[in-house]
Amino acid sequence: MKQIIIFTLLFSSICYSQTSSSSEKASFKVKGVCEMCEDRIEKGTVKLKGVKYADWDILSNNISLIYNSKKINLDKIHRHISMLGHSTDKYKAPEKIYNALPECCKYETNSIH
């Protein structure tokens, strides 16, 4: 019985200690057309230090983010994504990087597929 109590206490304390105050949410448009884009955008973004979570939706072209505002600001995230070759509603991707995208990801000429 003692063990059960200890476990429960341990468990609940971890559950409720997770609320971090510096976490912020953001959502903006990132251009892309395919599942490969999704992979590139999500992976490329979540690997950024300070970004906790990234989910990009192919249909709406929306990226949803949770990030630590003490470690990174939103502008940096925008810029980083545009440097991956995917234009955001703030920064356009450099032409050179865009041209190097895989064929299926060329969102200026392809439609969602």
Partner: protein, 744 residues
């Protein structure tokens, strides 16, 4: 779950734009249940000519009007839709396809019915419900005939029961879960898989090697998880009828009702009957039992995306009766005929609750609890076997991240309680032996996963359990994945597993023999047998490449299970079955090579070679496991015609199995001494799909008609040399079946 997460996220996080505009995206749900955008949809305010078209991603933006609040969507082949726009600025609109226009022909890549992933850290194969259709009959224990990772054997000559093996080890060393609740264990070990109707299954996940710590310490050689149909996603109505030339008739009925957008319920009914008296091999015994079963399941599903909650509630009742024994119809006996009955009743109920924090999608909490009551009342000639098991299981699991979603953690607790009550005869004419036992355990686990999102991922888990009979112990498990190239992946896994051996219920084929049972002690929790403990480790390599633009896939798996302690079940001496603790070595080494090739859009071939080296120290020597072929070869060919506009097509499936020689335990009446011959089996099925709603199938099993000669040994069934346990090949000859599926 990930779809749910996405949908939650979509609903909760949209950008707010200026109030003067209304924007949104238009899509539809395709046949695979995926949301797809619609481009070129006319969007205009009702009774006006002000409008726009959606762009290539289905997106539109339209200026709000004062005189019209109703927005109309029009697109050829889809029903018109009107939405009311008030203060909102964004919406997602789903159009539904019109029923009265001709279906368009959609060409897409066929999904494999058995899917292996390059990205999962563990060696998990997903088996879809479509794969399960390939073995049309009837329950899960029979559904692995077309699956190369799992071997199906007959467990004896008279009960018609099939036993599954993985990595050369019997099913008790597997953890079999139903939606991650341990299910087939203890009393239900032998017949449990046959109590899950195949049509109830949405998909199965087969993990090779040590499993995740989240489901307990029991999985030694692997895990099979069965996902059942969910009321929200299953068809509103489904009926399946099956009948074969050996008198087996089955019916499955599903009815699902969506009550509100948050609540739905499903009722699943299965019944089977076989009253056909059959003795094709002329051994005087029925080839299969006369049987009758009913299985009812009602489940409720509640989802609330805005709050992030999912709830499942289900309960189930099952009754199964089998009559076995000598064919005493049209035959005069001068002695009492040998007969038996196996009657099982089972009740299951479970409750599941899941919560995903809508604003922090990577945090989630899951809770589940399950209660089951299992009662088997059986006799085999003059031997009785009664077992009753009451089980309670509960677990809570919390998911979160450290830093970012590259580092995930799982943390939780499991509690399990099992109350066993067992009565049996050691020999034919004997006092009943009885055993009562309560197993009680609580364990905590922690699992960390790292995913670099490209080459490397790993899952490291540890759990600590307090068990009233097994003691307190750690269970560590590790999985590692390295994917140097897009189409090559190496996986490593290692971990320990333990198990309280329910020796009698796991080896019920003793009772249809004259063998006397020898246990170290006559009483006590485990009759003086120590808990089983094993270490499993393995490596898997997979390489994909292209020939003629078609994908070829090679997988090589090598797994080793090393037993620290095992309960040795010794059938080596005629007239005896002895159980004792392992003294010496016991291991199972398994090598599997899979080759898959897609010849064309409509032709797919997979072949497998398996080599098992399963050795154990018996009192009589270091021997290969009996009735376990060292070599096996498997080929499955799947073909279909192209789908016509009305959804109709033909599907063909052919499975060839070659089973190598097997060591046969000594018995002076056995026709086979030493090793059995190798043999081949051929199964085939043809399905005519008439439309998405209706299909007919016919098929044959064991079409080459290979049968074991004289599977029942012993002239006098109440004598000590009577034995039905030495079975290495099918009991029946060829079997043919026909059936239909109808859904709406």
């Amino acid at each position: 779950m990930s779809n749910f997460l996405k949908c939650l996220f979509l609903l909760t996080s949209f950008v707010s734009f200026s109030q003067n505009y209304f924007e949104g995206s238009v899509g539809y749900i395709d046949n695979d249940g995926l949301q797809k955008p619609l481009a070129g949809v006319s969007v205009f305010w009702e009774n006006t000519s002000i409008g726009t078209l959606t762009d290539s991603i289905g997106y539109f933006k339209i200026k709000k009007l004062n005189n019209s609040k109703k927005l109309l969507f029009k697109f050829l082949g889809f029903d018109d839709k009107i939405i009311k726009v008030d203060k909102e600025t964004y919406s997602e609109i789903l159009l539904t396809e019109s029923q009265n226009v001709l279906d368009e022909v959609i060409v897409n890549k066929k999904k494999k019915t058995i899917q292996k992933s390059y990205f999962k850290t563990q060696n998990i194969t997903n088996v879809s419900s479509e794969e399960l259709l390939k073995a049309a009959c009837c329950n899960i224990s029979e559904s692995f005939d077309t699956n190369p990772s799992i071997d199906v054997n007959y467990s004896n000559a008279i009960t018609g029961t099939k036993q599954v093996k993985m990595l050369g080890l019997e099913s008790p060393y597997l953890l079999i879960t139903e939606e991650n609740i341990p299910m087939i264990r203890g009393a239900s070990q032998v017949y449990g898989l046959s109590f899950i109707p195949g049509t109830w299954v949405e998909s199965m996940q087969i993990t090779k090697g040590t499993g995740s710590v989240t489901n307990g310490f029991e999985s030694i050689s692997g895990q099979i998880n069965v996902e059942l149909n969910k009321p929200f996603s299953d068809s509103p109505f489904f009926i399946n009828i099956y009948s074969n030339n050996m008198g087996r008739n089955e019916i499955n009925l599903h009815s699902n009702k969506i009550i509100t957008d948050k609540l739905s319920t499903g009722l699943y009914i299965h019944a089977n009957k076989n009253d056909h008296i059959l003795d094709n091999n002329n051994d005087g015994f029925l080839d299969h039992p006369i049987s009758e079963a009913i299985n009812l399941f009602n489940r409720w599903q509640y989802i609330n995306p805005s709050k992030g909650t999912v709830v499942f509630l289900g309960y189930r009742f099952m009754s199964d009766n089998k009559e076995i024994g000598e064919n005493n119809k049209n035959k005069v006996f001068i002695r009492e005929p040998w007969s038996g009955e196996i009657n099982t009743k089972r009740f299951d109920s479970n409750f599941k609750f899941g919560y995903v924090n809508p604003s922090i999608p990577y945090q989630s909490l899951g809770f589940q609890m399950a209660y089951s009551y299992h009662d088997q009342d059986s006799f085999f000639g003059k031997r009785n076997y009664l077992i009753n098991q009451k089980s309670f299981y509960s677990s809570i699991i919390y998911n979160s991240i450290i830093g970012s979603t590259l580092n995930k953690i799982k943390l939780g607790l499991n509690y399990s309680y099992d109350d066993y009550d067992e009565l049996f005869n050691r020999v034919s004419i004997d006092m009943m032996s009885s055993s009562q036992r309560i197993d009680n355990s609580i364990g905590g686990f922690f699992e960390y996963s790292y995913d670099s999102l490209d080459e490397i991922s790993l899952v490291a888990g540890i759990r600590y359990d307090f068990h009233n009979n097994l003691g307190n112990f750690f269970t560590p498990r590790l999985h590692f994945r390295y994917q140097p190239l897009e189409k090559s992946v190496i996986r490593l896994s290692a971990g320990t597993g333990r198990k309280a051996s329910n020796v009698i219920s796991e080896n019920q084929n003793i009772f249809a023999t004259g063998r006397e049972i020898f246990l170290p002690k006559n009483a006590g929790n485990f009759y003086g047998l120590a808990p089983e403990k094993a270490f499993n480790y393995g490596i898997s390599f997979r390489q994909g490449f292209y020939i003629n633009n078609r994908e070829v896939d090679i997988t090589i798996d090598y797994y080793v299970t090393d037993f620290d302690n095992q309960v040795v079940v010794d059938w080596e001496t005629q007239g005896k079955v002895s159980f004792y603790n392992l003294e010496g070595k016991s291991y199972a080494k398994s090598l599997q090579v899979d080759l898959e090739y897609e010849f064309s859009d409509n032709l797919f071939i997979k072949s497998t070679y398996k080599n098992y080296d399963v050795m154990k120290q018996y009192k009589s020597g270091f021997l290969q496991n009996p009735l376990t072929p060292k070599n096996r070869f498997f080929t499955n060919i799947e073909a279909s015609t192209s789908t016509k506009s009305n959804g109709s097509k033909w599907k063909f499936d052919l499975t060839y199995n070659w089973v190598g020689k097997q060591r046969i335990p000594k018995h002076n009446l056995s026709l086979v001494k030493g090793f059995s011959n190798s043999y081949s089996l051929l199964n085939s099925q043809i399905t005519k799909v008439f439309s998405k709603k209706f299909e007919l199938y016919v098929g044959g099993e064991n079409m080459s008609n290979y049968k074991q000669d004289k599977p029942v040994l012993g002239g006098y069934p109440f004598g000590t040399d009577f034995d039905t346990s030495i079975v290495y090949a099918p009991i029946h000859g060829s079997l043919f079946y026909i059936g239909l599926r109808l859904k709406s």
